[in-house]
Point group: C2
């Protein structure tokens, strides 16, 4: 099969280069809780830290220790990394990188300022965000908006190599971080709103050459799908599973982009990531299940071949991209320890699967407002097994083109978007930054032109009706029971990444700009501080000089903050987000700052 | 005389409008130490606050209370104002204004975002800075970069009126704050590097109509100079004093802009301000004293007529604009209380004058590095009376065109630029943010074209040789003795505005971004904190809910930070500042943030 050829060629090319084993480096770096070495904290994606100097007892004493302006405005997603005595700070487009000396008041050791064509901004759907740097083996991986992947020497900032993963002229861009695994680095692509055909690509860490590429749609060999051995809900997927689920060649411009998160289980040597919405947003233009958009993918980390797949939202009618992080935890179910994968999907269901087999264990709503489906069919004997049961009233496909389907919950940006959750092994709970937003959705016919928006729906968004009036909740979730443990109402979507610590504190940021700390057990608010701008960055922690610090980037933006970030005021602009979040401008203005907190001596 | 006609006409125009007495409002607002109601703290320009909760004993406990991102990058000069429960924050170009609710975590009550043509940026010599808002009678005065003066309703942000003071197409811009006095608001203009003919203009507060305009150069009637009654060092100035000091019509493009500070003595009803450099920077193109560039002006606040004038640097050869703030204090000299005016000039001399008469009392170097003049002649009998005695070696005029005069101290940006000093009546000392920078200066012939740079010299700047290696000092100055009391070395120019308080603390910011607090008596450093970006803003303080706060804007830029602000890297760019301050990029990046400090409960 063609895919194995690619893989073998790549291996041969690597023959003379020194072997690189990112896993050892990443495991060592993320295992040292003094550091913050990966966007999701670890390969498993828990965003949990063992540091426990800051506790639910003393977090109320937190103060600002130091600050740093990134020199860039608009949405700041992601978190700085800390490796040893150096902090690495990234920015949104133009994707500058700063190495700050923690031993010297954050003096700038080096800065890397890529020269990118600003035209790429015009084809980024949801602000100029970037979900941050990755690290392994004294290398900082920068994945630019224009899809250039750069390996930087962590000590000097010198470029080791760079490679281009896509073409912004076709709407291919990047916002995601990358994941170094074994001797490769795994790289996604954005552009679902431009008809980009999604893929995950592995580049060899040694020299940036391509090892393999796995498309989200199309022929099995393009997808690195093995018809006999790639499993779907316990059964071999069979030949042409994607091709058979599209009309004609629509899969070629059918989306399924990979702009979210990849996690990794070193024992199983499997990587996990999700694919985005099928293109266009007008379901009438793409009959069928549109496989494998909206799918959790489990692939062999070396070959890229799919071990199992699970499509969460077949034939999407609401833009519920399936790219959210898959958190890998071991928990007991019915008395047996299970290797689990937990995913809080945009569609409002939280899924618990067996990450070895892809078996579906739990699928429950993590916001009671979710109304587009009654439930996910859990009976393996049913022909609907694993499928959400769509409510006709909220089906934009059934209501048809040019009909405004109203009151769908959640809105297109989902009950949760890309903002990562966190898991505390001490409580066994997941802490999830969520949206509490509903929408009206009117699909319309659109024609494809490379590099032009290929959206095909008009949206408007509003707070979930009949609720607390706010647009967000911060919840604690039991992934075995499939139940909300507690839920904290928020005025706006919680668009920041959360972090739990061994100090029994959970941190998150709000769109108004507050950093908040709550008790991991009870959810009680223990601390809040108003940072310079709205927070869509991810909270991180590190220890330096014997002291624990909490860090977070401020800088309002992302899809929720696109009105402020891009200066839009028409309610339907920004893919429908501008109107819903208009009140945000009463609370905050654009920014780009790191705030670091500590408990004073 | 023509000038009186103008004034009378304006008064007639005002006949029907309600009378406005800004003084009462400004005196009340600045007299309430809970507020920060003027950029210089008060009419006298002391930047002193009576608040004393934060003291030299407890300032070490200061912590960040809250923060606000302005949404704009580049140099943030000026300070926010606090009137009642509202804080007014301004930005550099595009000169946005935010009214923040101090009772509600800084919620944005209103924002004003002027639509200015971005072309004005190209004709701003020294970054897109703005030295801040002014207040009187429930009115916020915004003076935009494009010279539009806007009166905003302080409660609603609604525009009461606006008036245009100059033409950016001719290089006329604004960076200065304005001063409301009596029924008028006093307004300067920038553009000395574009051959702009400077003027101070009074607009009627009631409706924005012009009351009078006093040019810095030209015929007596244009200058509102009274040949018999306008005094210069104790003698009537005589007719045509300006015209006689220029060759031909050069005064028409001869600079003397008014981009600095105005202070006011309500008892004398006199306003004080300074005029900038004569244009061009090539002295060979403008033989003569170039009056009244480089001059301290004392004018009647109602009529604008000059009471007295004093030219600090006749026939400037170094760009030593004379626009720095004139601080009005009463101190004892030889046993007699005197009404003094103290001015720390760019040229490196600190002047103490009698502010009623313009008598010159003290003129001493406030940086020992100053070498371009030996001293200022103090003998009234001498024909050199009041004139600096130029050292031939450092005379760019004597060395001539196309000759590089090296090692001149201070550099063009002076021993102090616009960054305002502060005065503590408790210690009787002035605290002065200074530059410790020298230069090479090579004049060359340049021809005038409206709206085009009209500079005529190539500069390079460097730390004062044979000193501590840094580019700045923060000093305490005795203006009666004419002596430095103490001097704190700084790595970079201290480009921020200082503030002294009744708590015996003096605050200032550094270009690396530190807010520093020092003991008013000893200069001992008591506290420092690294804010997000380099500080060129002015420290302010206010009390709210019974608690004292310290606020400062970060955002590196201004002339010293122009390399970072405008992304320049060629050493001679930015009028010679880029090379000297290149190391600044190792410490900070662009920003635009307010940081507010308090002592935790
Ligand atoms: O389909 C895509 O390729 C794509 C890309 C991105 C992106 O790259 O940021 C987002 C989305 N879709 C999207 O649907 C979405 O909700 C979203 C939110 C954000 C964000 O960072 O706030 N990006 C994106
Ligand atoms: O001659 C002028 O009109 C003019 C204007 C300005 C200004 O408006 O900022 C500065 C200067 N000159 C100048 O000489 C100077 O040193 C300077 C420093 C700064 C600053 O804000 O950092 N502005 C200006």
């Amino acid at each position: 099969m063609k895919r194995f050829t690619i893989s073998v060629v790549a291996t041969l090319l690597l023959g003379t280069a020194a072997p690189v084993f990112a896993n050892d480096s990443v495991l060592a770096a993320t295992g040292d809780s003094k550091q913050w070495a990966a966007q999701l904290g670890d390969y498993a994606g828990t965003r949990y830290s063992e540091l426990d100097q800051i506790t639910n007892e003393n977090v109320g004493d937190l103060q600002v220790a130091w600050t740093f302006s990134t020199g860039v405005l608009r949405g700041h997603e992601g978190a700085p990394l800390v490796i040893g005595d150096v902090m690495y700070v990234h920015t949104p487009f133009p994707n500058n990188v700063y190495a700050l000396d923690l031993n010297n008041d954050g003096k700038i050791l080096w800065r890397y300022t890529p020269q990118q064509d600003a035209d790429v901004i015009g084809v980024m759907c949801c602000d100029t965000v970037y979900r941050g740097l990755a690290y392994s083996d004294d290398t900082i991986f920068l994945h630019q908006a224009d899809t250039t992947l750069v390996a930087l020497d962590a000590t000097t900032g010198d470029v080791k190599w760079s490679v281009v993963n896509g073409d912004p002229a076709k709407g291919e861009t990047n916002t995601a971080t990358v994941l170094p695994v074994n001797d490769k680095v795994l790289v996604g692509i954005s552009g679902g709103e431009y008809g980009v055909r999604g893929h995950l690509t592995a580049y060899n860490i040694a020299d940036g050459s391509m090892a393999w590429r796995a498309y989200s749609t199309g022929p099995d060999e393009d997808m690195l799908v093995d018809p006999e051995n790639t499993m779907v809900l316990g059964k071999p997927v069979g030949a042409n599973s994607s091709l058979d689920s599209w009309e004609g060649d629509q899969w070629q411009i059918g989306g399924g982009t990979t702009w979210g998160w990849t996690t990794y289980d070193p024992d199983l040597n499997l990587i996990y990531y999700g694919t985005g919405n099928p293109s266009t947003w007008n379901p009438a233009q793409r009959p069928g299940d549109n496989k494998w958009s909206m799918t959790i993918m489990a692939r062999d980390a070396d070959t890229g071949v799919a071990k199992w797949m699970y499509q969460k939202t077949p034939h999407d009618e609401w833009d519920f991209d399936g790219v959210n992080e898959n958190i890998l935890v071991d928990q007991e179910i019915d008395g047996t320890m299970r290797k689990l994968l937990v995913n809080f999907d945009r569609n409002g269901f939280a899924y618990t699967l067996d990450r070895e087999t892809g078996e579906l264990l739990v699928a429950e709503k993590y916001d009671p407002a979710v109304n587009w489906a009654t439930h996910v069919e859990m009976d393996p004997a049913s022909d609907q097994y694993g499928r959400p049961q769509v409510v006709a009233e909220y089906s934009t496909a059934q209501n048809g083109e040019d009909v405004n389907t109203t009151g769908i919950c959640p809105a297109a940006l989902g009950t949760k978007d890309q903002q990562p959750s966190t898991y505390s092994p001490k409580t066994g709970l997941f802490y999830v930054p969520t949206n509490h937003v509903c929408m009206d959705y009117e699909p319309f016919r659109v024609s494809y032109s490379a590099g032009q928006p290929y959206v095909g729906a008009t949206l408007s968004m509003f707070p979930a009706p009949g609720s607390h009036g706010g647009m967000g909740n911060f919840i604690a979730w039991d992934a075995v029971a499939g139940e909300i443990k507690w839920s904290l109402p928020e005025q706006f979507s919680v668009w920041s990444g959360a972090m739990a610590t061994a100090g029994d504190v959970v941190f998150y940021g709000t769109l108004e700009g507050y950093l908040k700390a709550v008790d991991a057990e009870t959810g009680e608010e223990l601390y809040k501080f108003k940072t310079p701008s709205g927070i869509i960055g991810y909270v991180m922690t590190y220890e330096h000089g014997g002291k624990q610090y909490i860090g977070v980037l401020s800088g309002v933006g992302g899809w929720a903050g696109i009105g402020l970030a891009a200066g839009l005021t028409n309610a339907n602009d920004g893919l429908g987000a501008v109107g819903g979040y208009a009140a945000l401008s009463d609370y905050t203005a654009l920014g780009g700052q790191l705030t670091v907190f500590a408990i004073p001596d």
